[in-house]
Structures are given as structure tokens and as C-alpha cells.
Chain length 312, copies 2
Amino acid sequence: MTLLIEADREAGFLDWQRCFREAAPDLKIRWWADPEVDPAEVLYVFCYAPEPGRLSRFPNLRLICSASVGVDNIVTDGTWPTHVPLVRMGCSETAQRMSDYVAWACLSINLNLPRIALAQRTRTWDKVTALRTIPETRVGILGMGNLGAKAAQSLRDFGFSTAGWSRTRKSLPGIESFVGSEELQPFLQRADILVCLLPGTPETVRFLSEDRLARLPVGAGLVNVGRGSHVDVEALTAALDSGHLSGAVLDVFETEPLAADDPLWGHPKVVVTSHLASTASRESRARYAASVIAAFERGDDVPNRFDPVRGY
Amino acid sequence: MTLLIEADREAGFLDWQRCFREAAPDLKIRWWADPEVDPAEVLYVFCYAPEPGRLSRFPNLRLICSASVGVDNIVTDGTWPTHVPLVRMGCSETAQRMSDYVAWACLSINLNLPRIALAQRTRTWDKVTALRTIPETRVGILGMGNLGAKAAQSLRDFGFSTAGWSRTRKSLPGIESFVGSEELQPFLQRADILVCLLPGTPETVRFLSEDRLARLPVGAGLVNVGRGSHVDVEALTAALDSGHLSGAVLDVFETEPLAADDPLWGHPKVVVTSHLASTASRESRARYAASVIAAFERGDDVPNRFDPVRGY
């Protein structure tokens, strides 16, 4: 039983191989770029952004495990074998890291981190006043999947007034649930900090438009940990420049890596991080993928399966 | 009944006056620098760092309210009238802001904020990996007064494994209590992040010495929100440079403002902020001071009173 692993470099593959050998000793672990692998022997693949057409070339493929929570890099390939179950990364470390990052980003917006960073860079003693305390802050989470629900619960436990927006009603204690397009406006109007954790689907492209950003209260902040494509960057920049929004923490971008000459790097109200919010360790992700493959082998339902109707 | 307010500039005084008029309409509010104030009419003062000798010149002084939690700027004046009650700032907003800052600082150390900031400054796509997740992080709080206890409880609620060190045993649910010099070593050995919230007294000067910093586990981080004098900066810098410590978030310094040529501003593992961690709004501090004065007038015990034996 061969598991094929997508990795840019051999060193990365060897490290994944070490992790999978421990988690799934019965699997034969081979590298994506190994020319000696017979496509017919590949039963499982573990990938993030396979080159278009590649996934359709494994006639005996049983299951695709995404190395990431998002699978848009896989399903945008029109030739991917849609009859094969596709599983999104769901290890608990991914959700924990995302929730840590989101808490940090919300606190960074409240403390005005861009101005604090500028003060340090220019060696200026600048007694920046925090914009709000935690109990004064209403956070709204767009997208209440695994990651959104975990982040919402952490923020609630820490004392933020927390709400979530999703396509179906959620009942998490102490977290207000908003649903569908008719409840989007009241949801946005109460979000001192908006956290975007939407899935990357055709419907969510430019979800954060000029009009929707304008619905946020004056002085609100934005945290984007979904996809770069969710945000109309021009509208965001205008809202920051006009003072309508106080700050943004952005971890994802339309084109990654973000180009060195992109104005976002130097914007005085923006914190840029390099798509690092939820990156779990290889050990933890390999253990999760191994557990999914084992469940599949036993004939059990596999968790976190891509649903082509929802699009994630 | 005159309350005299220390403020550098008249504009600052006028804003304090506005806040106190709302909180204590019966008090006559005068400015520290007003030459027409008769020292004999001053019954109360609200101050942070009065010039030495000044406090002894009010013959009818009943109470001194500190605008800050620390009173070392007041009691280091050898001539201050020690028979007059001195009250430290204890408004809940101060504790909330401190606790927000401490949470942000702990998360910033876990996420390796100095490296994230460097990446943004140099426009480098650098997928920095977080050092630890919250449940993996043991935080130790040095000093469990009002501020330390509030910060410890917030960190505990957020899932950090939290302990406190103090001179007397504390029993806060879920927070391990370490006491006195014999329990300092085990306390330091379990602190992945050490938060210094000690009071500024002669005994706590250079408390964080080379020897004590060496007791922290490899890769530990330091958050200093106590006093600049608590840290042996040379020893801290050496511990960061050797890799024994992974990072530091410093809000207080021996000399403030921190000089523009101070190497801490540019240290690749240090976040510098400008003594802003716990600054509450004037409204909130004025309300607290007014409530203390009212309690005193009624003959009630005043809270947060300076104890000359403890030194804070």
C-alpha cells in the first residue's frame, strides 16, 4: 500500500517519511517526484497543491489527504478524480495553532500593534493607548467550521464577546450564532474585530467587499486567516486609510509569497505574516492522515470529507 | 476641599479636571503648577512622580492617591510625609489592561513576534513556526498582587498552565502557588514564559539576575511589566544571544523614555513597548481615586494602601 507524498524538496519528503513511518508503519511511503513510482501502486496521496492533471493519473487511488485545512488548491484542478474521497486536514494541533494566532491577532489589533512596531522601528517612545480591553471587544468570526468554532470558543473563554456567522445555525454556549445572508448585516455591525475563516470557494471570492467592510463599526479591525481571495484589498486599504478601520492582521494573500514590492508590507496599519497561522507540526499532521487512512481501511466513515455541493 | 493634580501640561490637567469633576463634584480641583494654590488648602493629591520635597509642603494633607500602581516614584523621596495614607491605583481597568497586555506578550513570545516583525520590515516571506501552543506553555508570574492575580486568572482561563510566585501563599483555583526563596528555583524551572510583575522596592532591584535567568528552561521567554530595575539587562541580552532564552517583551526600563541609542530597540529577539501595558483611561482612574477619597471621608478603610514594611 503506497502513500505518495507531495513535497517540494527531498529533505522535506524525508522528514514527512520519518513522521509517517512512525504513524503508519504498514504504508510504503514514496515521494511525489520519484520517477520510479508506478502510478498503479499509489493507493493514497498526501498533498497540498498538486500540479493540475497529476491526481487523475493514479488508476487505483482510494483517498486523497490534504496537508492543509483548505482544499481549494486541489479542487480547482478540473481533472481531479471526484469519485475519490478527499479529506481536509483536521488535526487538533492545526485548530489549536489557528486559535492561538487568532487570539494574538485580536489582541494585536486592540493594542495597535502596527503603531507599536513603528515606534520600535523608529526608536520612538510612543505611549500608544490600547483601543479596547477584552471585555469591551465584540469579535465576529466568519466561518464556523472546525477552525472557526475552536477559535470562537477560545476567544469566549478569554472574555471576548464572541459571535459566529455560518451557513447553518450553531449552538455553542456563550457564542451568538448568525446565519445566512439576512443575518450578515447585523453580524458585521457588531464586529469590533472581524475574523475571516471562510473556506476558499467560488462564492467566497471577494466576500469582504467595499460594501461589507463599510458595515463594520468605525474603528473596527480585520483578521484574515481564510484565503487572500476573500478580501478586496483595494477596498480594505481605502477603509484603513480613511480611518474607518483601525487595523488589519493578514496571514493570507491572493498571490503567495506576497511580492516584495506589495504595498501591504509597508502599510502603517497592517501586520503581515507569511501564511503561518495554523501550520501544525509534520508529526501531528502525519498522525492525523494515518488515522484517516486507517479508518478508511476499516470501512469506517472518514471525517472532514470534502463536499462538492458546499464546495469545501 | 482641594485636590491637587500633578500633570506635566495644562491640557492634561484640564482633562483630569473634567474627569474628576464628574467623579467627585464636591472637590475643588487645582493644578500642581498653579502658583495661586495655597498649600494649606490642599487636602488630597493625585500624583505619579512628584518632585522631591513637594509633598512635605502641604500641612493639611490627608491622603495621597497614586495615578499609577507603582508608588516607588513617590516613596523614594526621603521627605514624603509617611504619616499620610498613600494609596496605589487599583481601578479595575488598570488590571484588565495589564492582563490583556500580558496575554498578548505571552502569545507574541510563542509566535516569535520579533522574527515576524523582522520579516515584515524586510518584506521577507518567512513561514515562522510558533514555538509552542497555549496548552503546551507553562507561564510563571512573579508577583501576585492585584495585577498579577488578575493576569494569572486570565491566562489560566485561556488554557495556559499558570503558576504564581509571591511572598505569601495564594489559593486561586487552577493556579499553582510558589512561595518564598526556597520555592523560587522550582518556580523558575517550570516557566516557559516568565512574567515579572514584582513591585519596585529596594529588595527587587536586579531580581532577574544572570543566575536566576539561567534557571529558566532552554527556549524560555521573558515579559517584564514590573520595573526596569528588576532586570539585569546585560545578563538578559547575553541569555538571548546565547539562545538560552528565545525572546523578551519589555515594557519598562531603568531609564524612561528609553534612549534612542539603546541597543534594546534593535535587538532581534526583543519587543520594546513604551511603558503602556496598564495605562487605564483618565475617566476610570479618576473614578477610582474619587471612590478612595469618599471612603476616607466616611472614615472607612482605604484599599491598596502602601505598607512601609513591605515597601509597596
